[in-house]
Amino acid sequence: MLEHIELWQSQVMELKEAFGESILEVRMPRDFPVDVPVIYLEKKHLLEVLRFLKERECRYSFLSDITATDEQEEGLPWRFEVVYQLFSQISKLRIRIKVRVAEGETVPTSVPLWAGANWAEREVYDMFGIVFEGHPDLRRILMDQRWVGHPLRKDYALKGFQIFTDSQSIDPSWLK
């Protein structure tokens, strides 16, 4: 892992030159218990940074995953971290982008960059209730549309039922 650190460092430098202050924090594997560099961004520049990473030389063009974590703690100004896992098929390296959001805050959608982000963002919405701004079709994906609550939040009750006696009906407006 450590042999890649110089390459990662130059990529992070490049990113810092291009975006400066919108990069809030960088955690490198040498100094923090992380396996790849983790870059914390300000959310308003998220799309530009992702596009930069996707299209510049480093070519982090493969979106491995979009997910979120619930960091519910007293006194923090944010609650969730939305996590983007990127992989470069050129340099065979990975990098992780994170955006911190408070409850009720929105995150810009990355569907314009990757069509596949559609379902991943829907899952984050379903599980955490984070709304993606500009998403073409933001609705629940794993749970029923009538479900109440967001199961992967830390304050979601572990026991309980929500029973639906009929199946979800077909909605022609979802066709595309």
Binding site: F32, P33, V34, D35, V36, V38, S61, F62, L63, S64, D65, T67, T69, D70, V83, Q85, F87, Q89, K92, R94, R96, W114, A115, G116, N118, W119, A120, E123, M127, I141, L142, M143, D144, P151, L152, Y156, L158, Q168, I170, P172, W174, L175, K176
Partner: protein
């Protein structure tokens, strides 16, 4: 019997394509051609799919939530039920991801056995994928050839861990049990037999005229689409993306074994079928090398934190008993940190993203299953195709509901 007046009807328009009527068709979630509880709603013009959407989540078992509320050891059994066609790969990747967080080094024999597990599981998964794909299109006997060999593979797996389907074979820092005496020879014999069967299957179907008509040029998903939809594994390689995590981000001993990464370029159903054949041949090669290079030795790491105490100690000493109880009831603590561990599973990139806050349970257990991303591409893949080709396309991308719904 209804008598058709051919003078009034258009004789070429058997299915009423000329009429402008669009119908809405619901397929699944319990339709036999849908490979598990998947649902698709399609708008048809005649037989052509104009628009569609997919729905899933019918087998959602809250695995990620369970991962946050079970100890790391307890979560092993849940990983079997992700991709149940290749349960061993899930076990191995999960164990690897926790070991990565804890910084555990494994002994050589353990790694070789894990590699054997991965490749065996990959072959069983590919055999079921191409077999079922052929069954859906009407080639039943082809499927039985593969199914027999798959049963033999399960017998081998049973010798390793006593279970055929839901294996739970790996432990954090080791394996449930060592491979039995003579396992290498049995594996070698199986490899020779399987190679012959695969070649026979190849001769049976690959050049069949009907099969080719049903699959060549059907469900095309090209390179750009694959990147857009994060396709990985055989489905991406069938479209010409040179991407295999066993070679690109090697773990275990994949750096030391010889194998090629087959690449095809059309990205249709036929290429996705062909690439699985080629990959099985490569996997057999890897298996042969593993079996010949495997040596006797320990299968557990030295690390005391994760070591399950021997039964002898548990039953005969007080300390052993207490330790055993604490190990299974409280679990071991994993140091603070986060890691994303990926591996080339049978269908593509399988990843575990674990965030630990230093407790015996994970803070976040994210499972990145390849089927989730592949199923998303289906609507685009079948747009403008015939409804019968949807079945071919769905079978060829090998959606496993357990991994999709988690």
């Amino acid at each position: 019997m209804k008598v058709v007046d051919w003078s009034k009807e258009d004789p070429d328009d058997l299915w009423g394509n000329a009429s402008d009527e669009r119908i809405l068709v619901n397929i699944g979630p319990t339709h036999p051609a849908m490979h598990g509880a998947l649902r698709m709603v399609a708008e048809l013009q005649g037989e052509t799919i104009e628009k569609s959407y997919c729905e899933f989540g019918f087998t959602h078992r809250a695995k990620e939530k369970l991962g946050e509320n079970r100890t790391y050891h307890n979560f092993i059994v849940y990983t079997d039920r992700l991709n149940y066609c290749s349960a061993l790969i899930n076990n191995v990747v999960y164990a690897m991801s926790v070991e990565k967080l804890m910084g555990i080094e494994l002994p050589e024999r353990c790694i070789w056995i894990r590699m054997i597990c991965c490749e065996l599981a990959r072959i069983t998964d590919h055999l079921i994928c191409i077999g079922i794909n052929a069954v859906d299109l009407g080639a039943f006997s082809f499927f039985l050839y593969g199914f027999h060999q798959r049963e033999e593979a399960y017998t081998l797996i049973e010798k390793l861990c006593g279970a055929r389907l839901t294996t739970s074979y790996t432990r954090i820092g080791g394996l449930m049990a060592d491979a039995p005496e003579g396992f290498e020879q049995e594996l070698q014999a199986w490899v020779v037999k399987t190679l012959a069967v695969i070649e026979e299957m190849d001769r049976l179907l690959s050049n069949n005229k009907i099969w080719k008509k049903r699959t060549v040029g059907v469900g095309v998903f090209d390179k750009e689409d694959c990147i857009q939809y994060s396709f990985s594994g055989p489905n991406a390689r069938a479209a010409g993306i040179d991407f295999d995590l066993r070679r690109d981000q090697p773990c275990m001993f994949y750096r030391e074994v010889d194998f090629e990464v087959p690449i095809l370029k059309n990205g249709d159903v036929y290429d996705r079928y062909r690439i699985r054949f080629e990959e099985m041949k490569q996997s057999l090669q890897i298996l042969q090398q593993c079996a010949s290079r495997m040596k006797k030795g320990p299968i557990w790491c030295e690390d005391k934190r994760v070591r399950i105490p021997d039964k002898d100690v548990v039953h005969n000493t007080m300390e052993g008993m207490i330790y055993h109880f604490k190990f299974f009831m409280q679990g071991f603590e994993v140091p603070e940190g986060e890691a994303y561990t990926q591996f080339e599973a049978a269908n593509g990139e399988l990843g575990f993203y674990i965030v630990s806050k230093g407790r015996a349970q994970a803070h976040r257990m994210r499972i990145r299953g390849p089927s989730f991303w592949h199923y998303q591409g289906l609507s685009r893949m079948i747009q403008g195709e015939k409804i019968a080709d949807m079945v071919a396309a769905l079978g060829s991308i090998n959606i496993i509901a357990g991994e999709l719904d988690r």
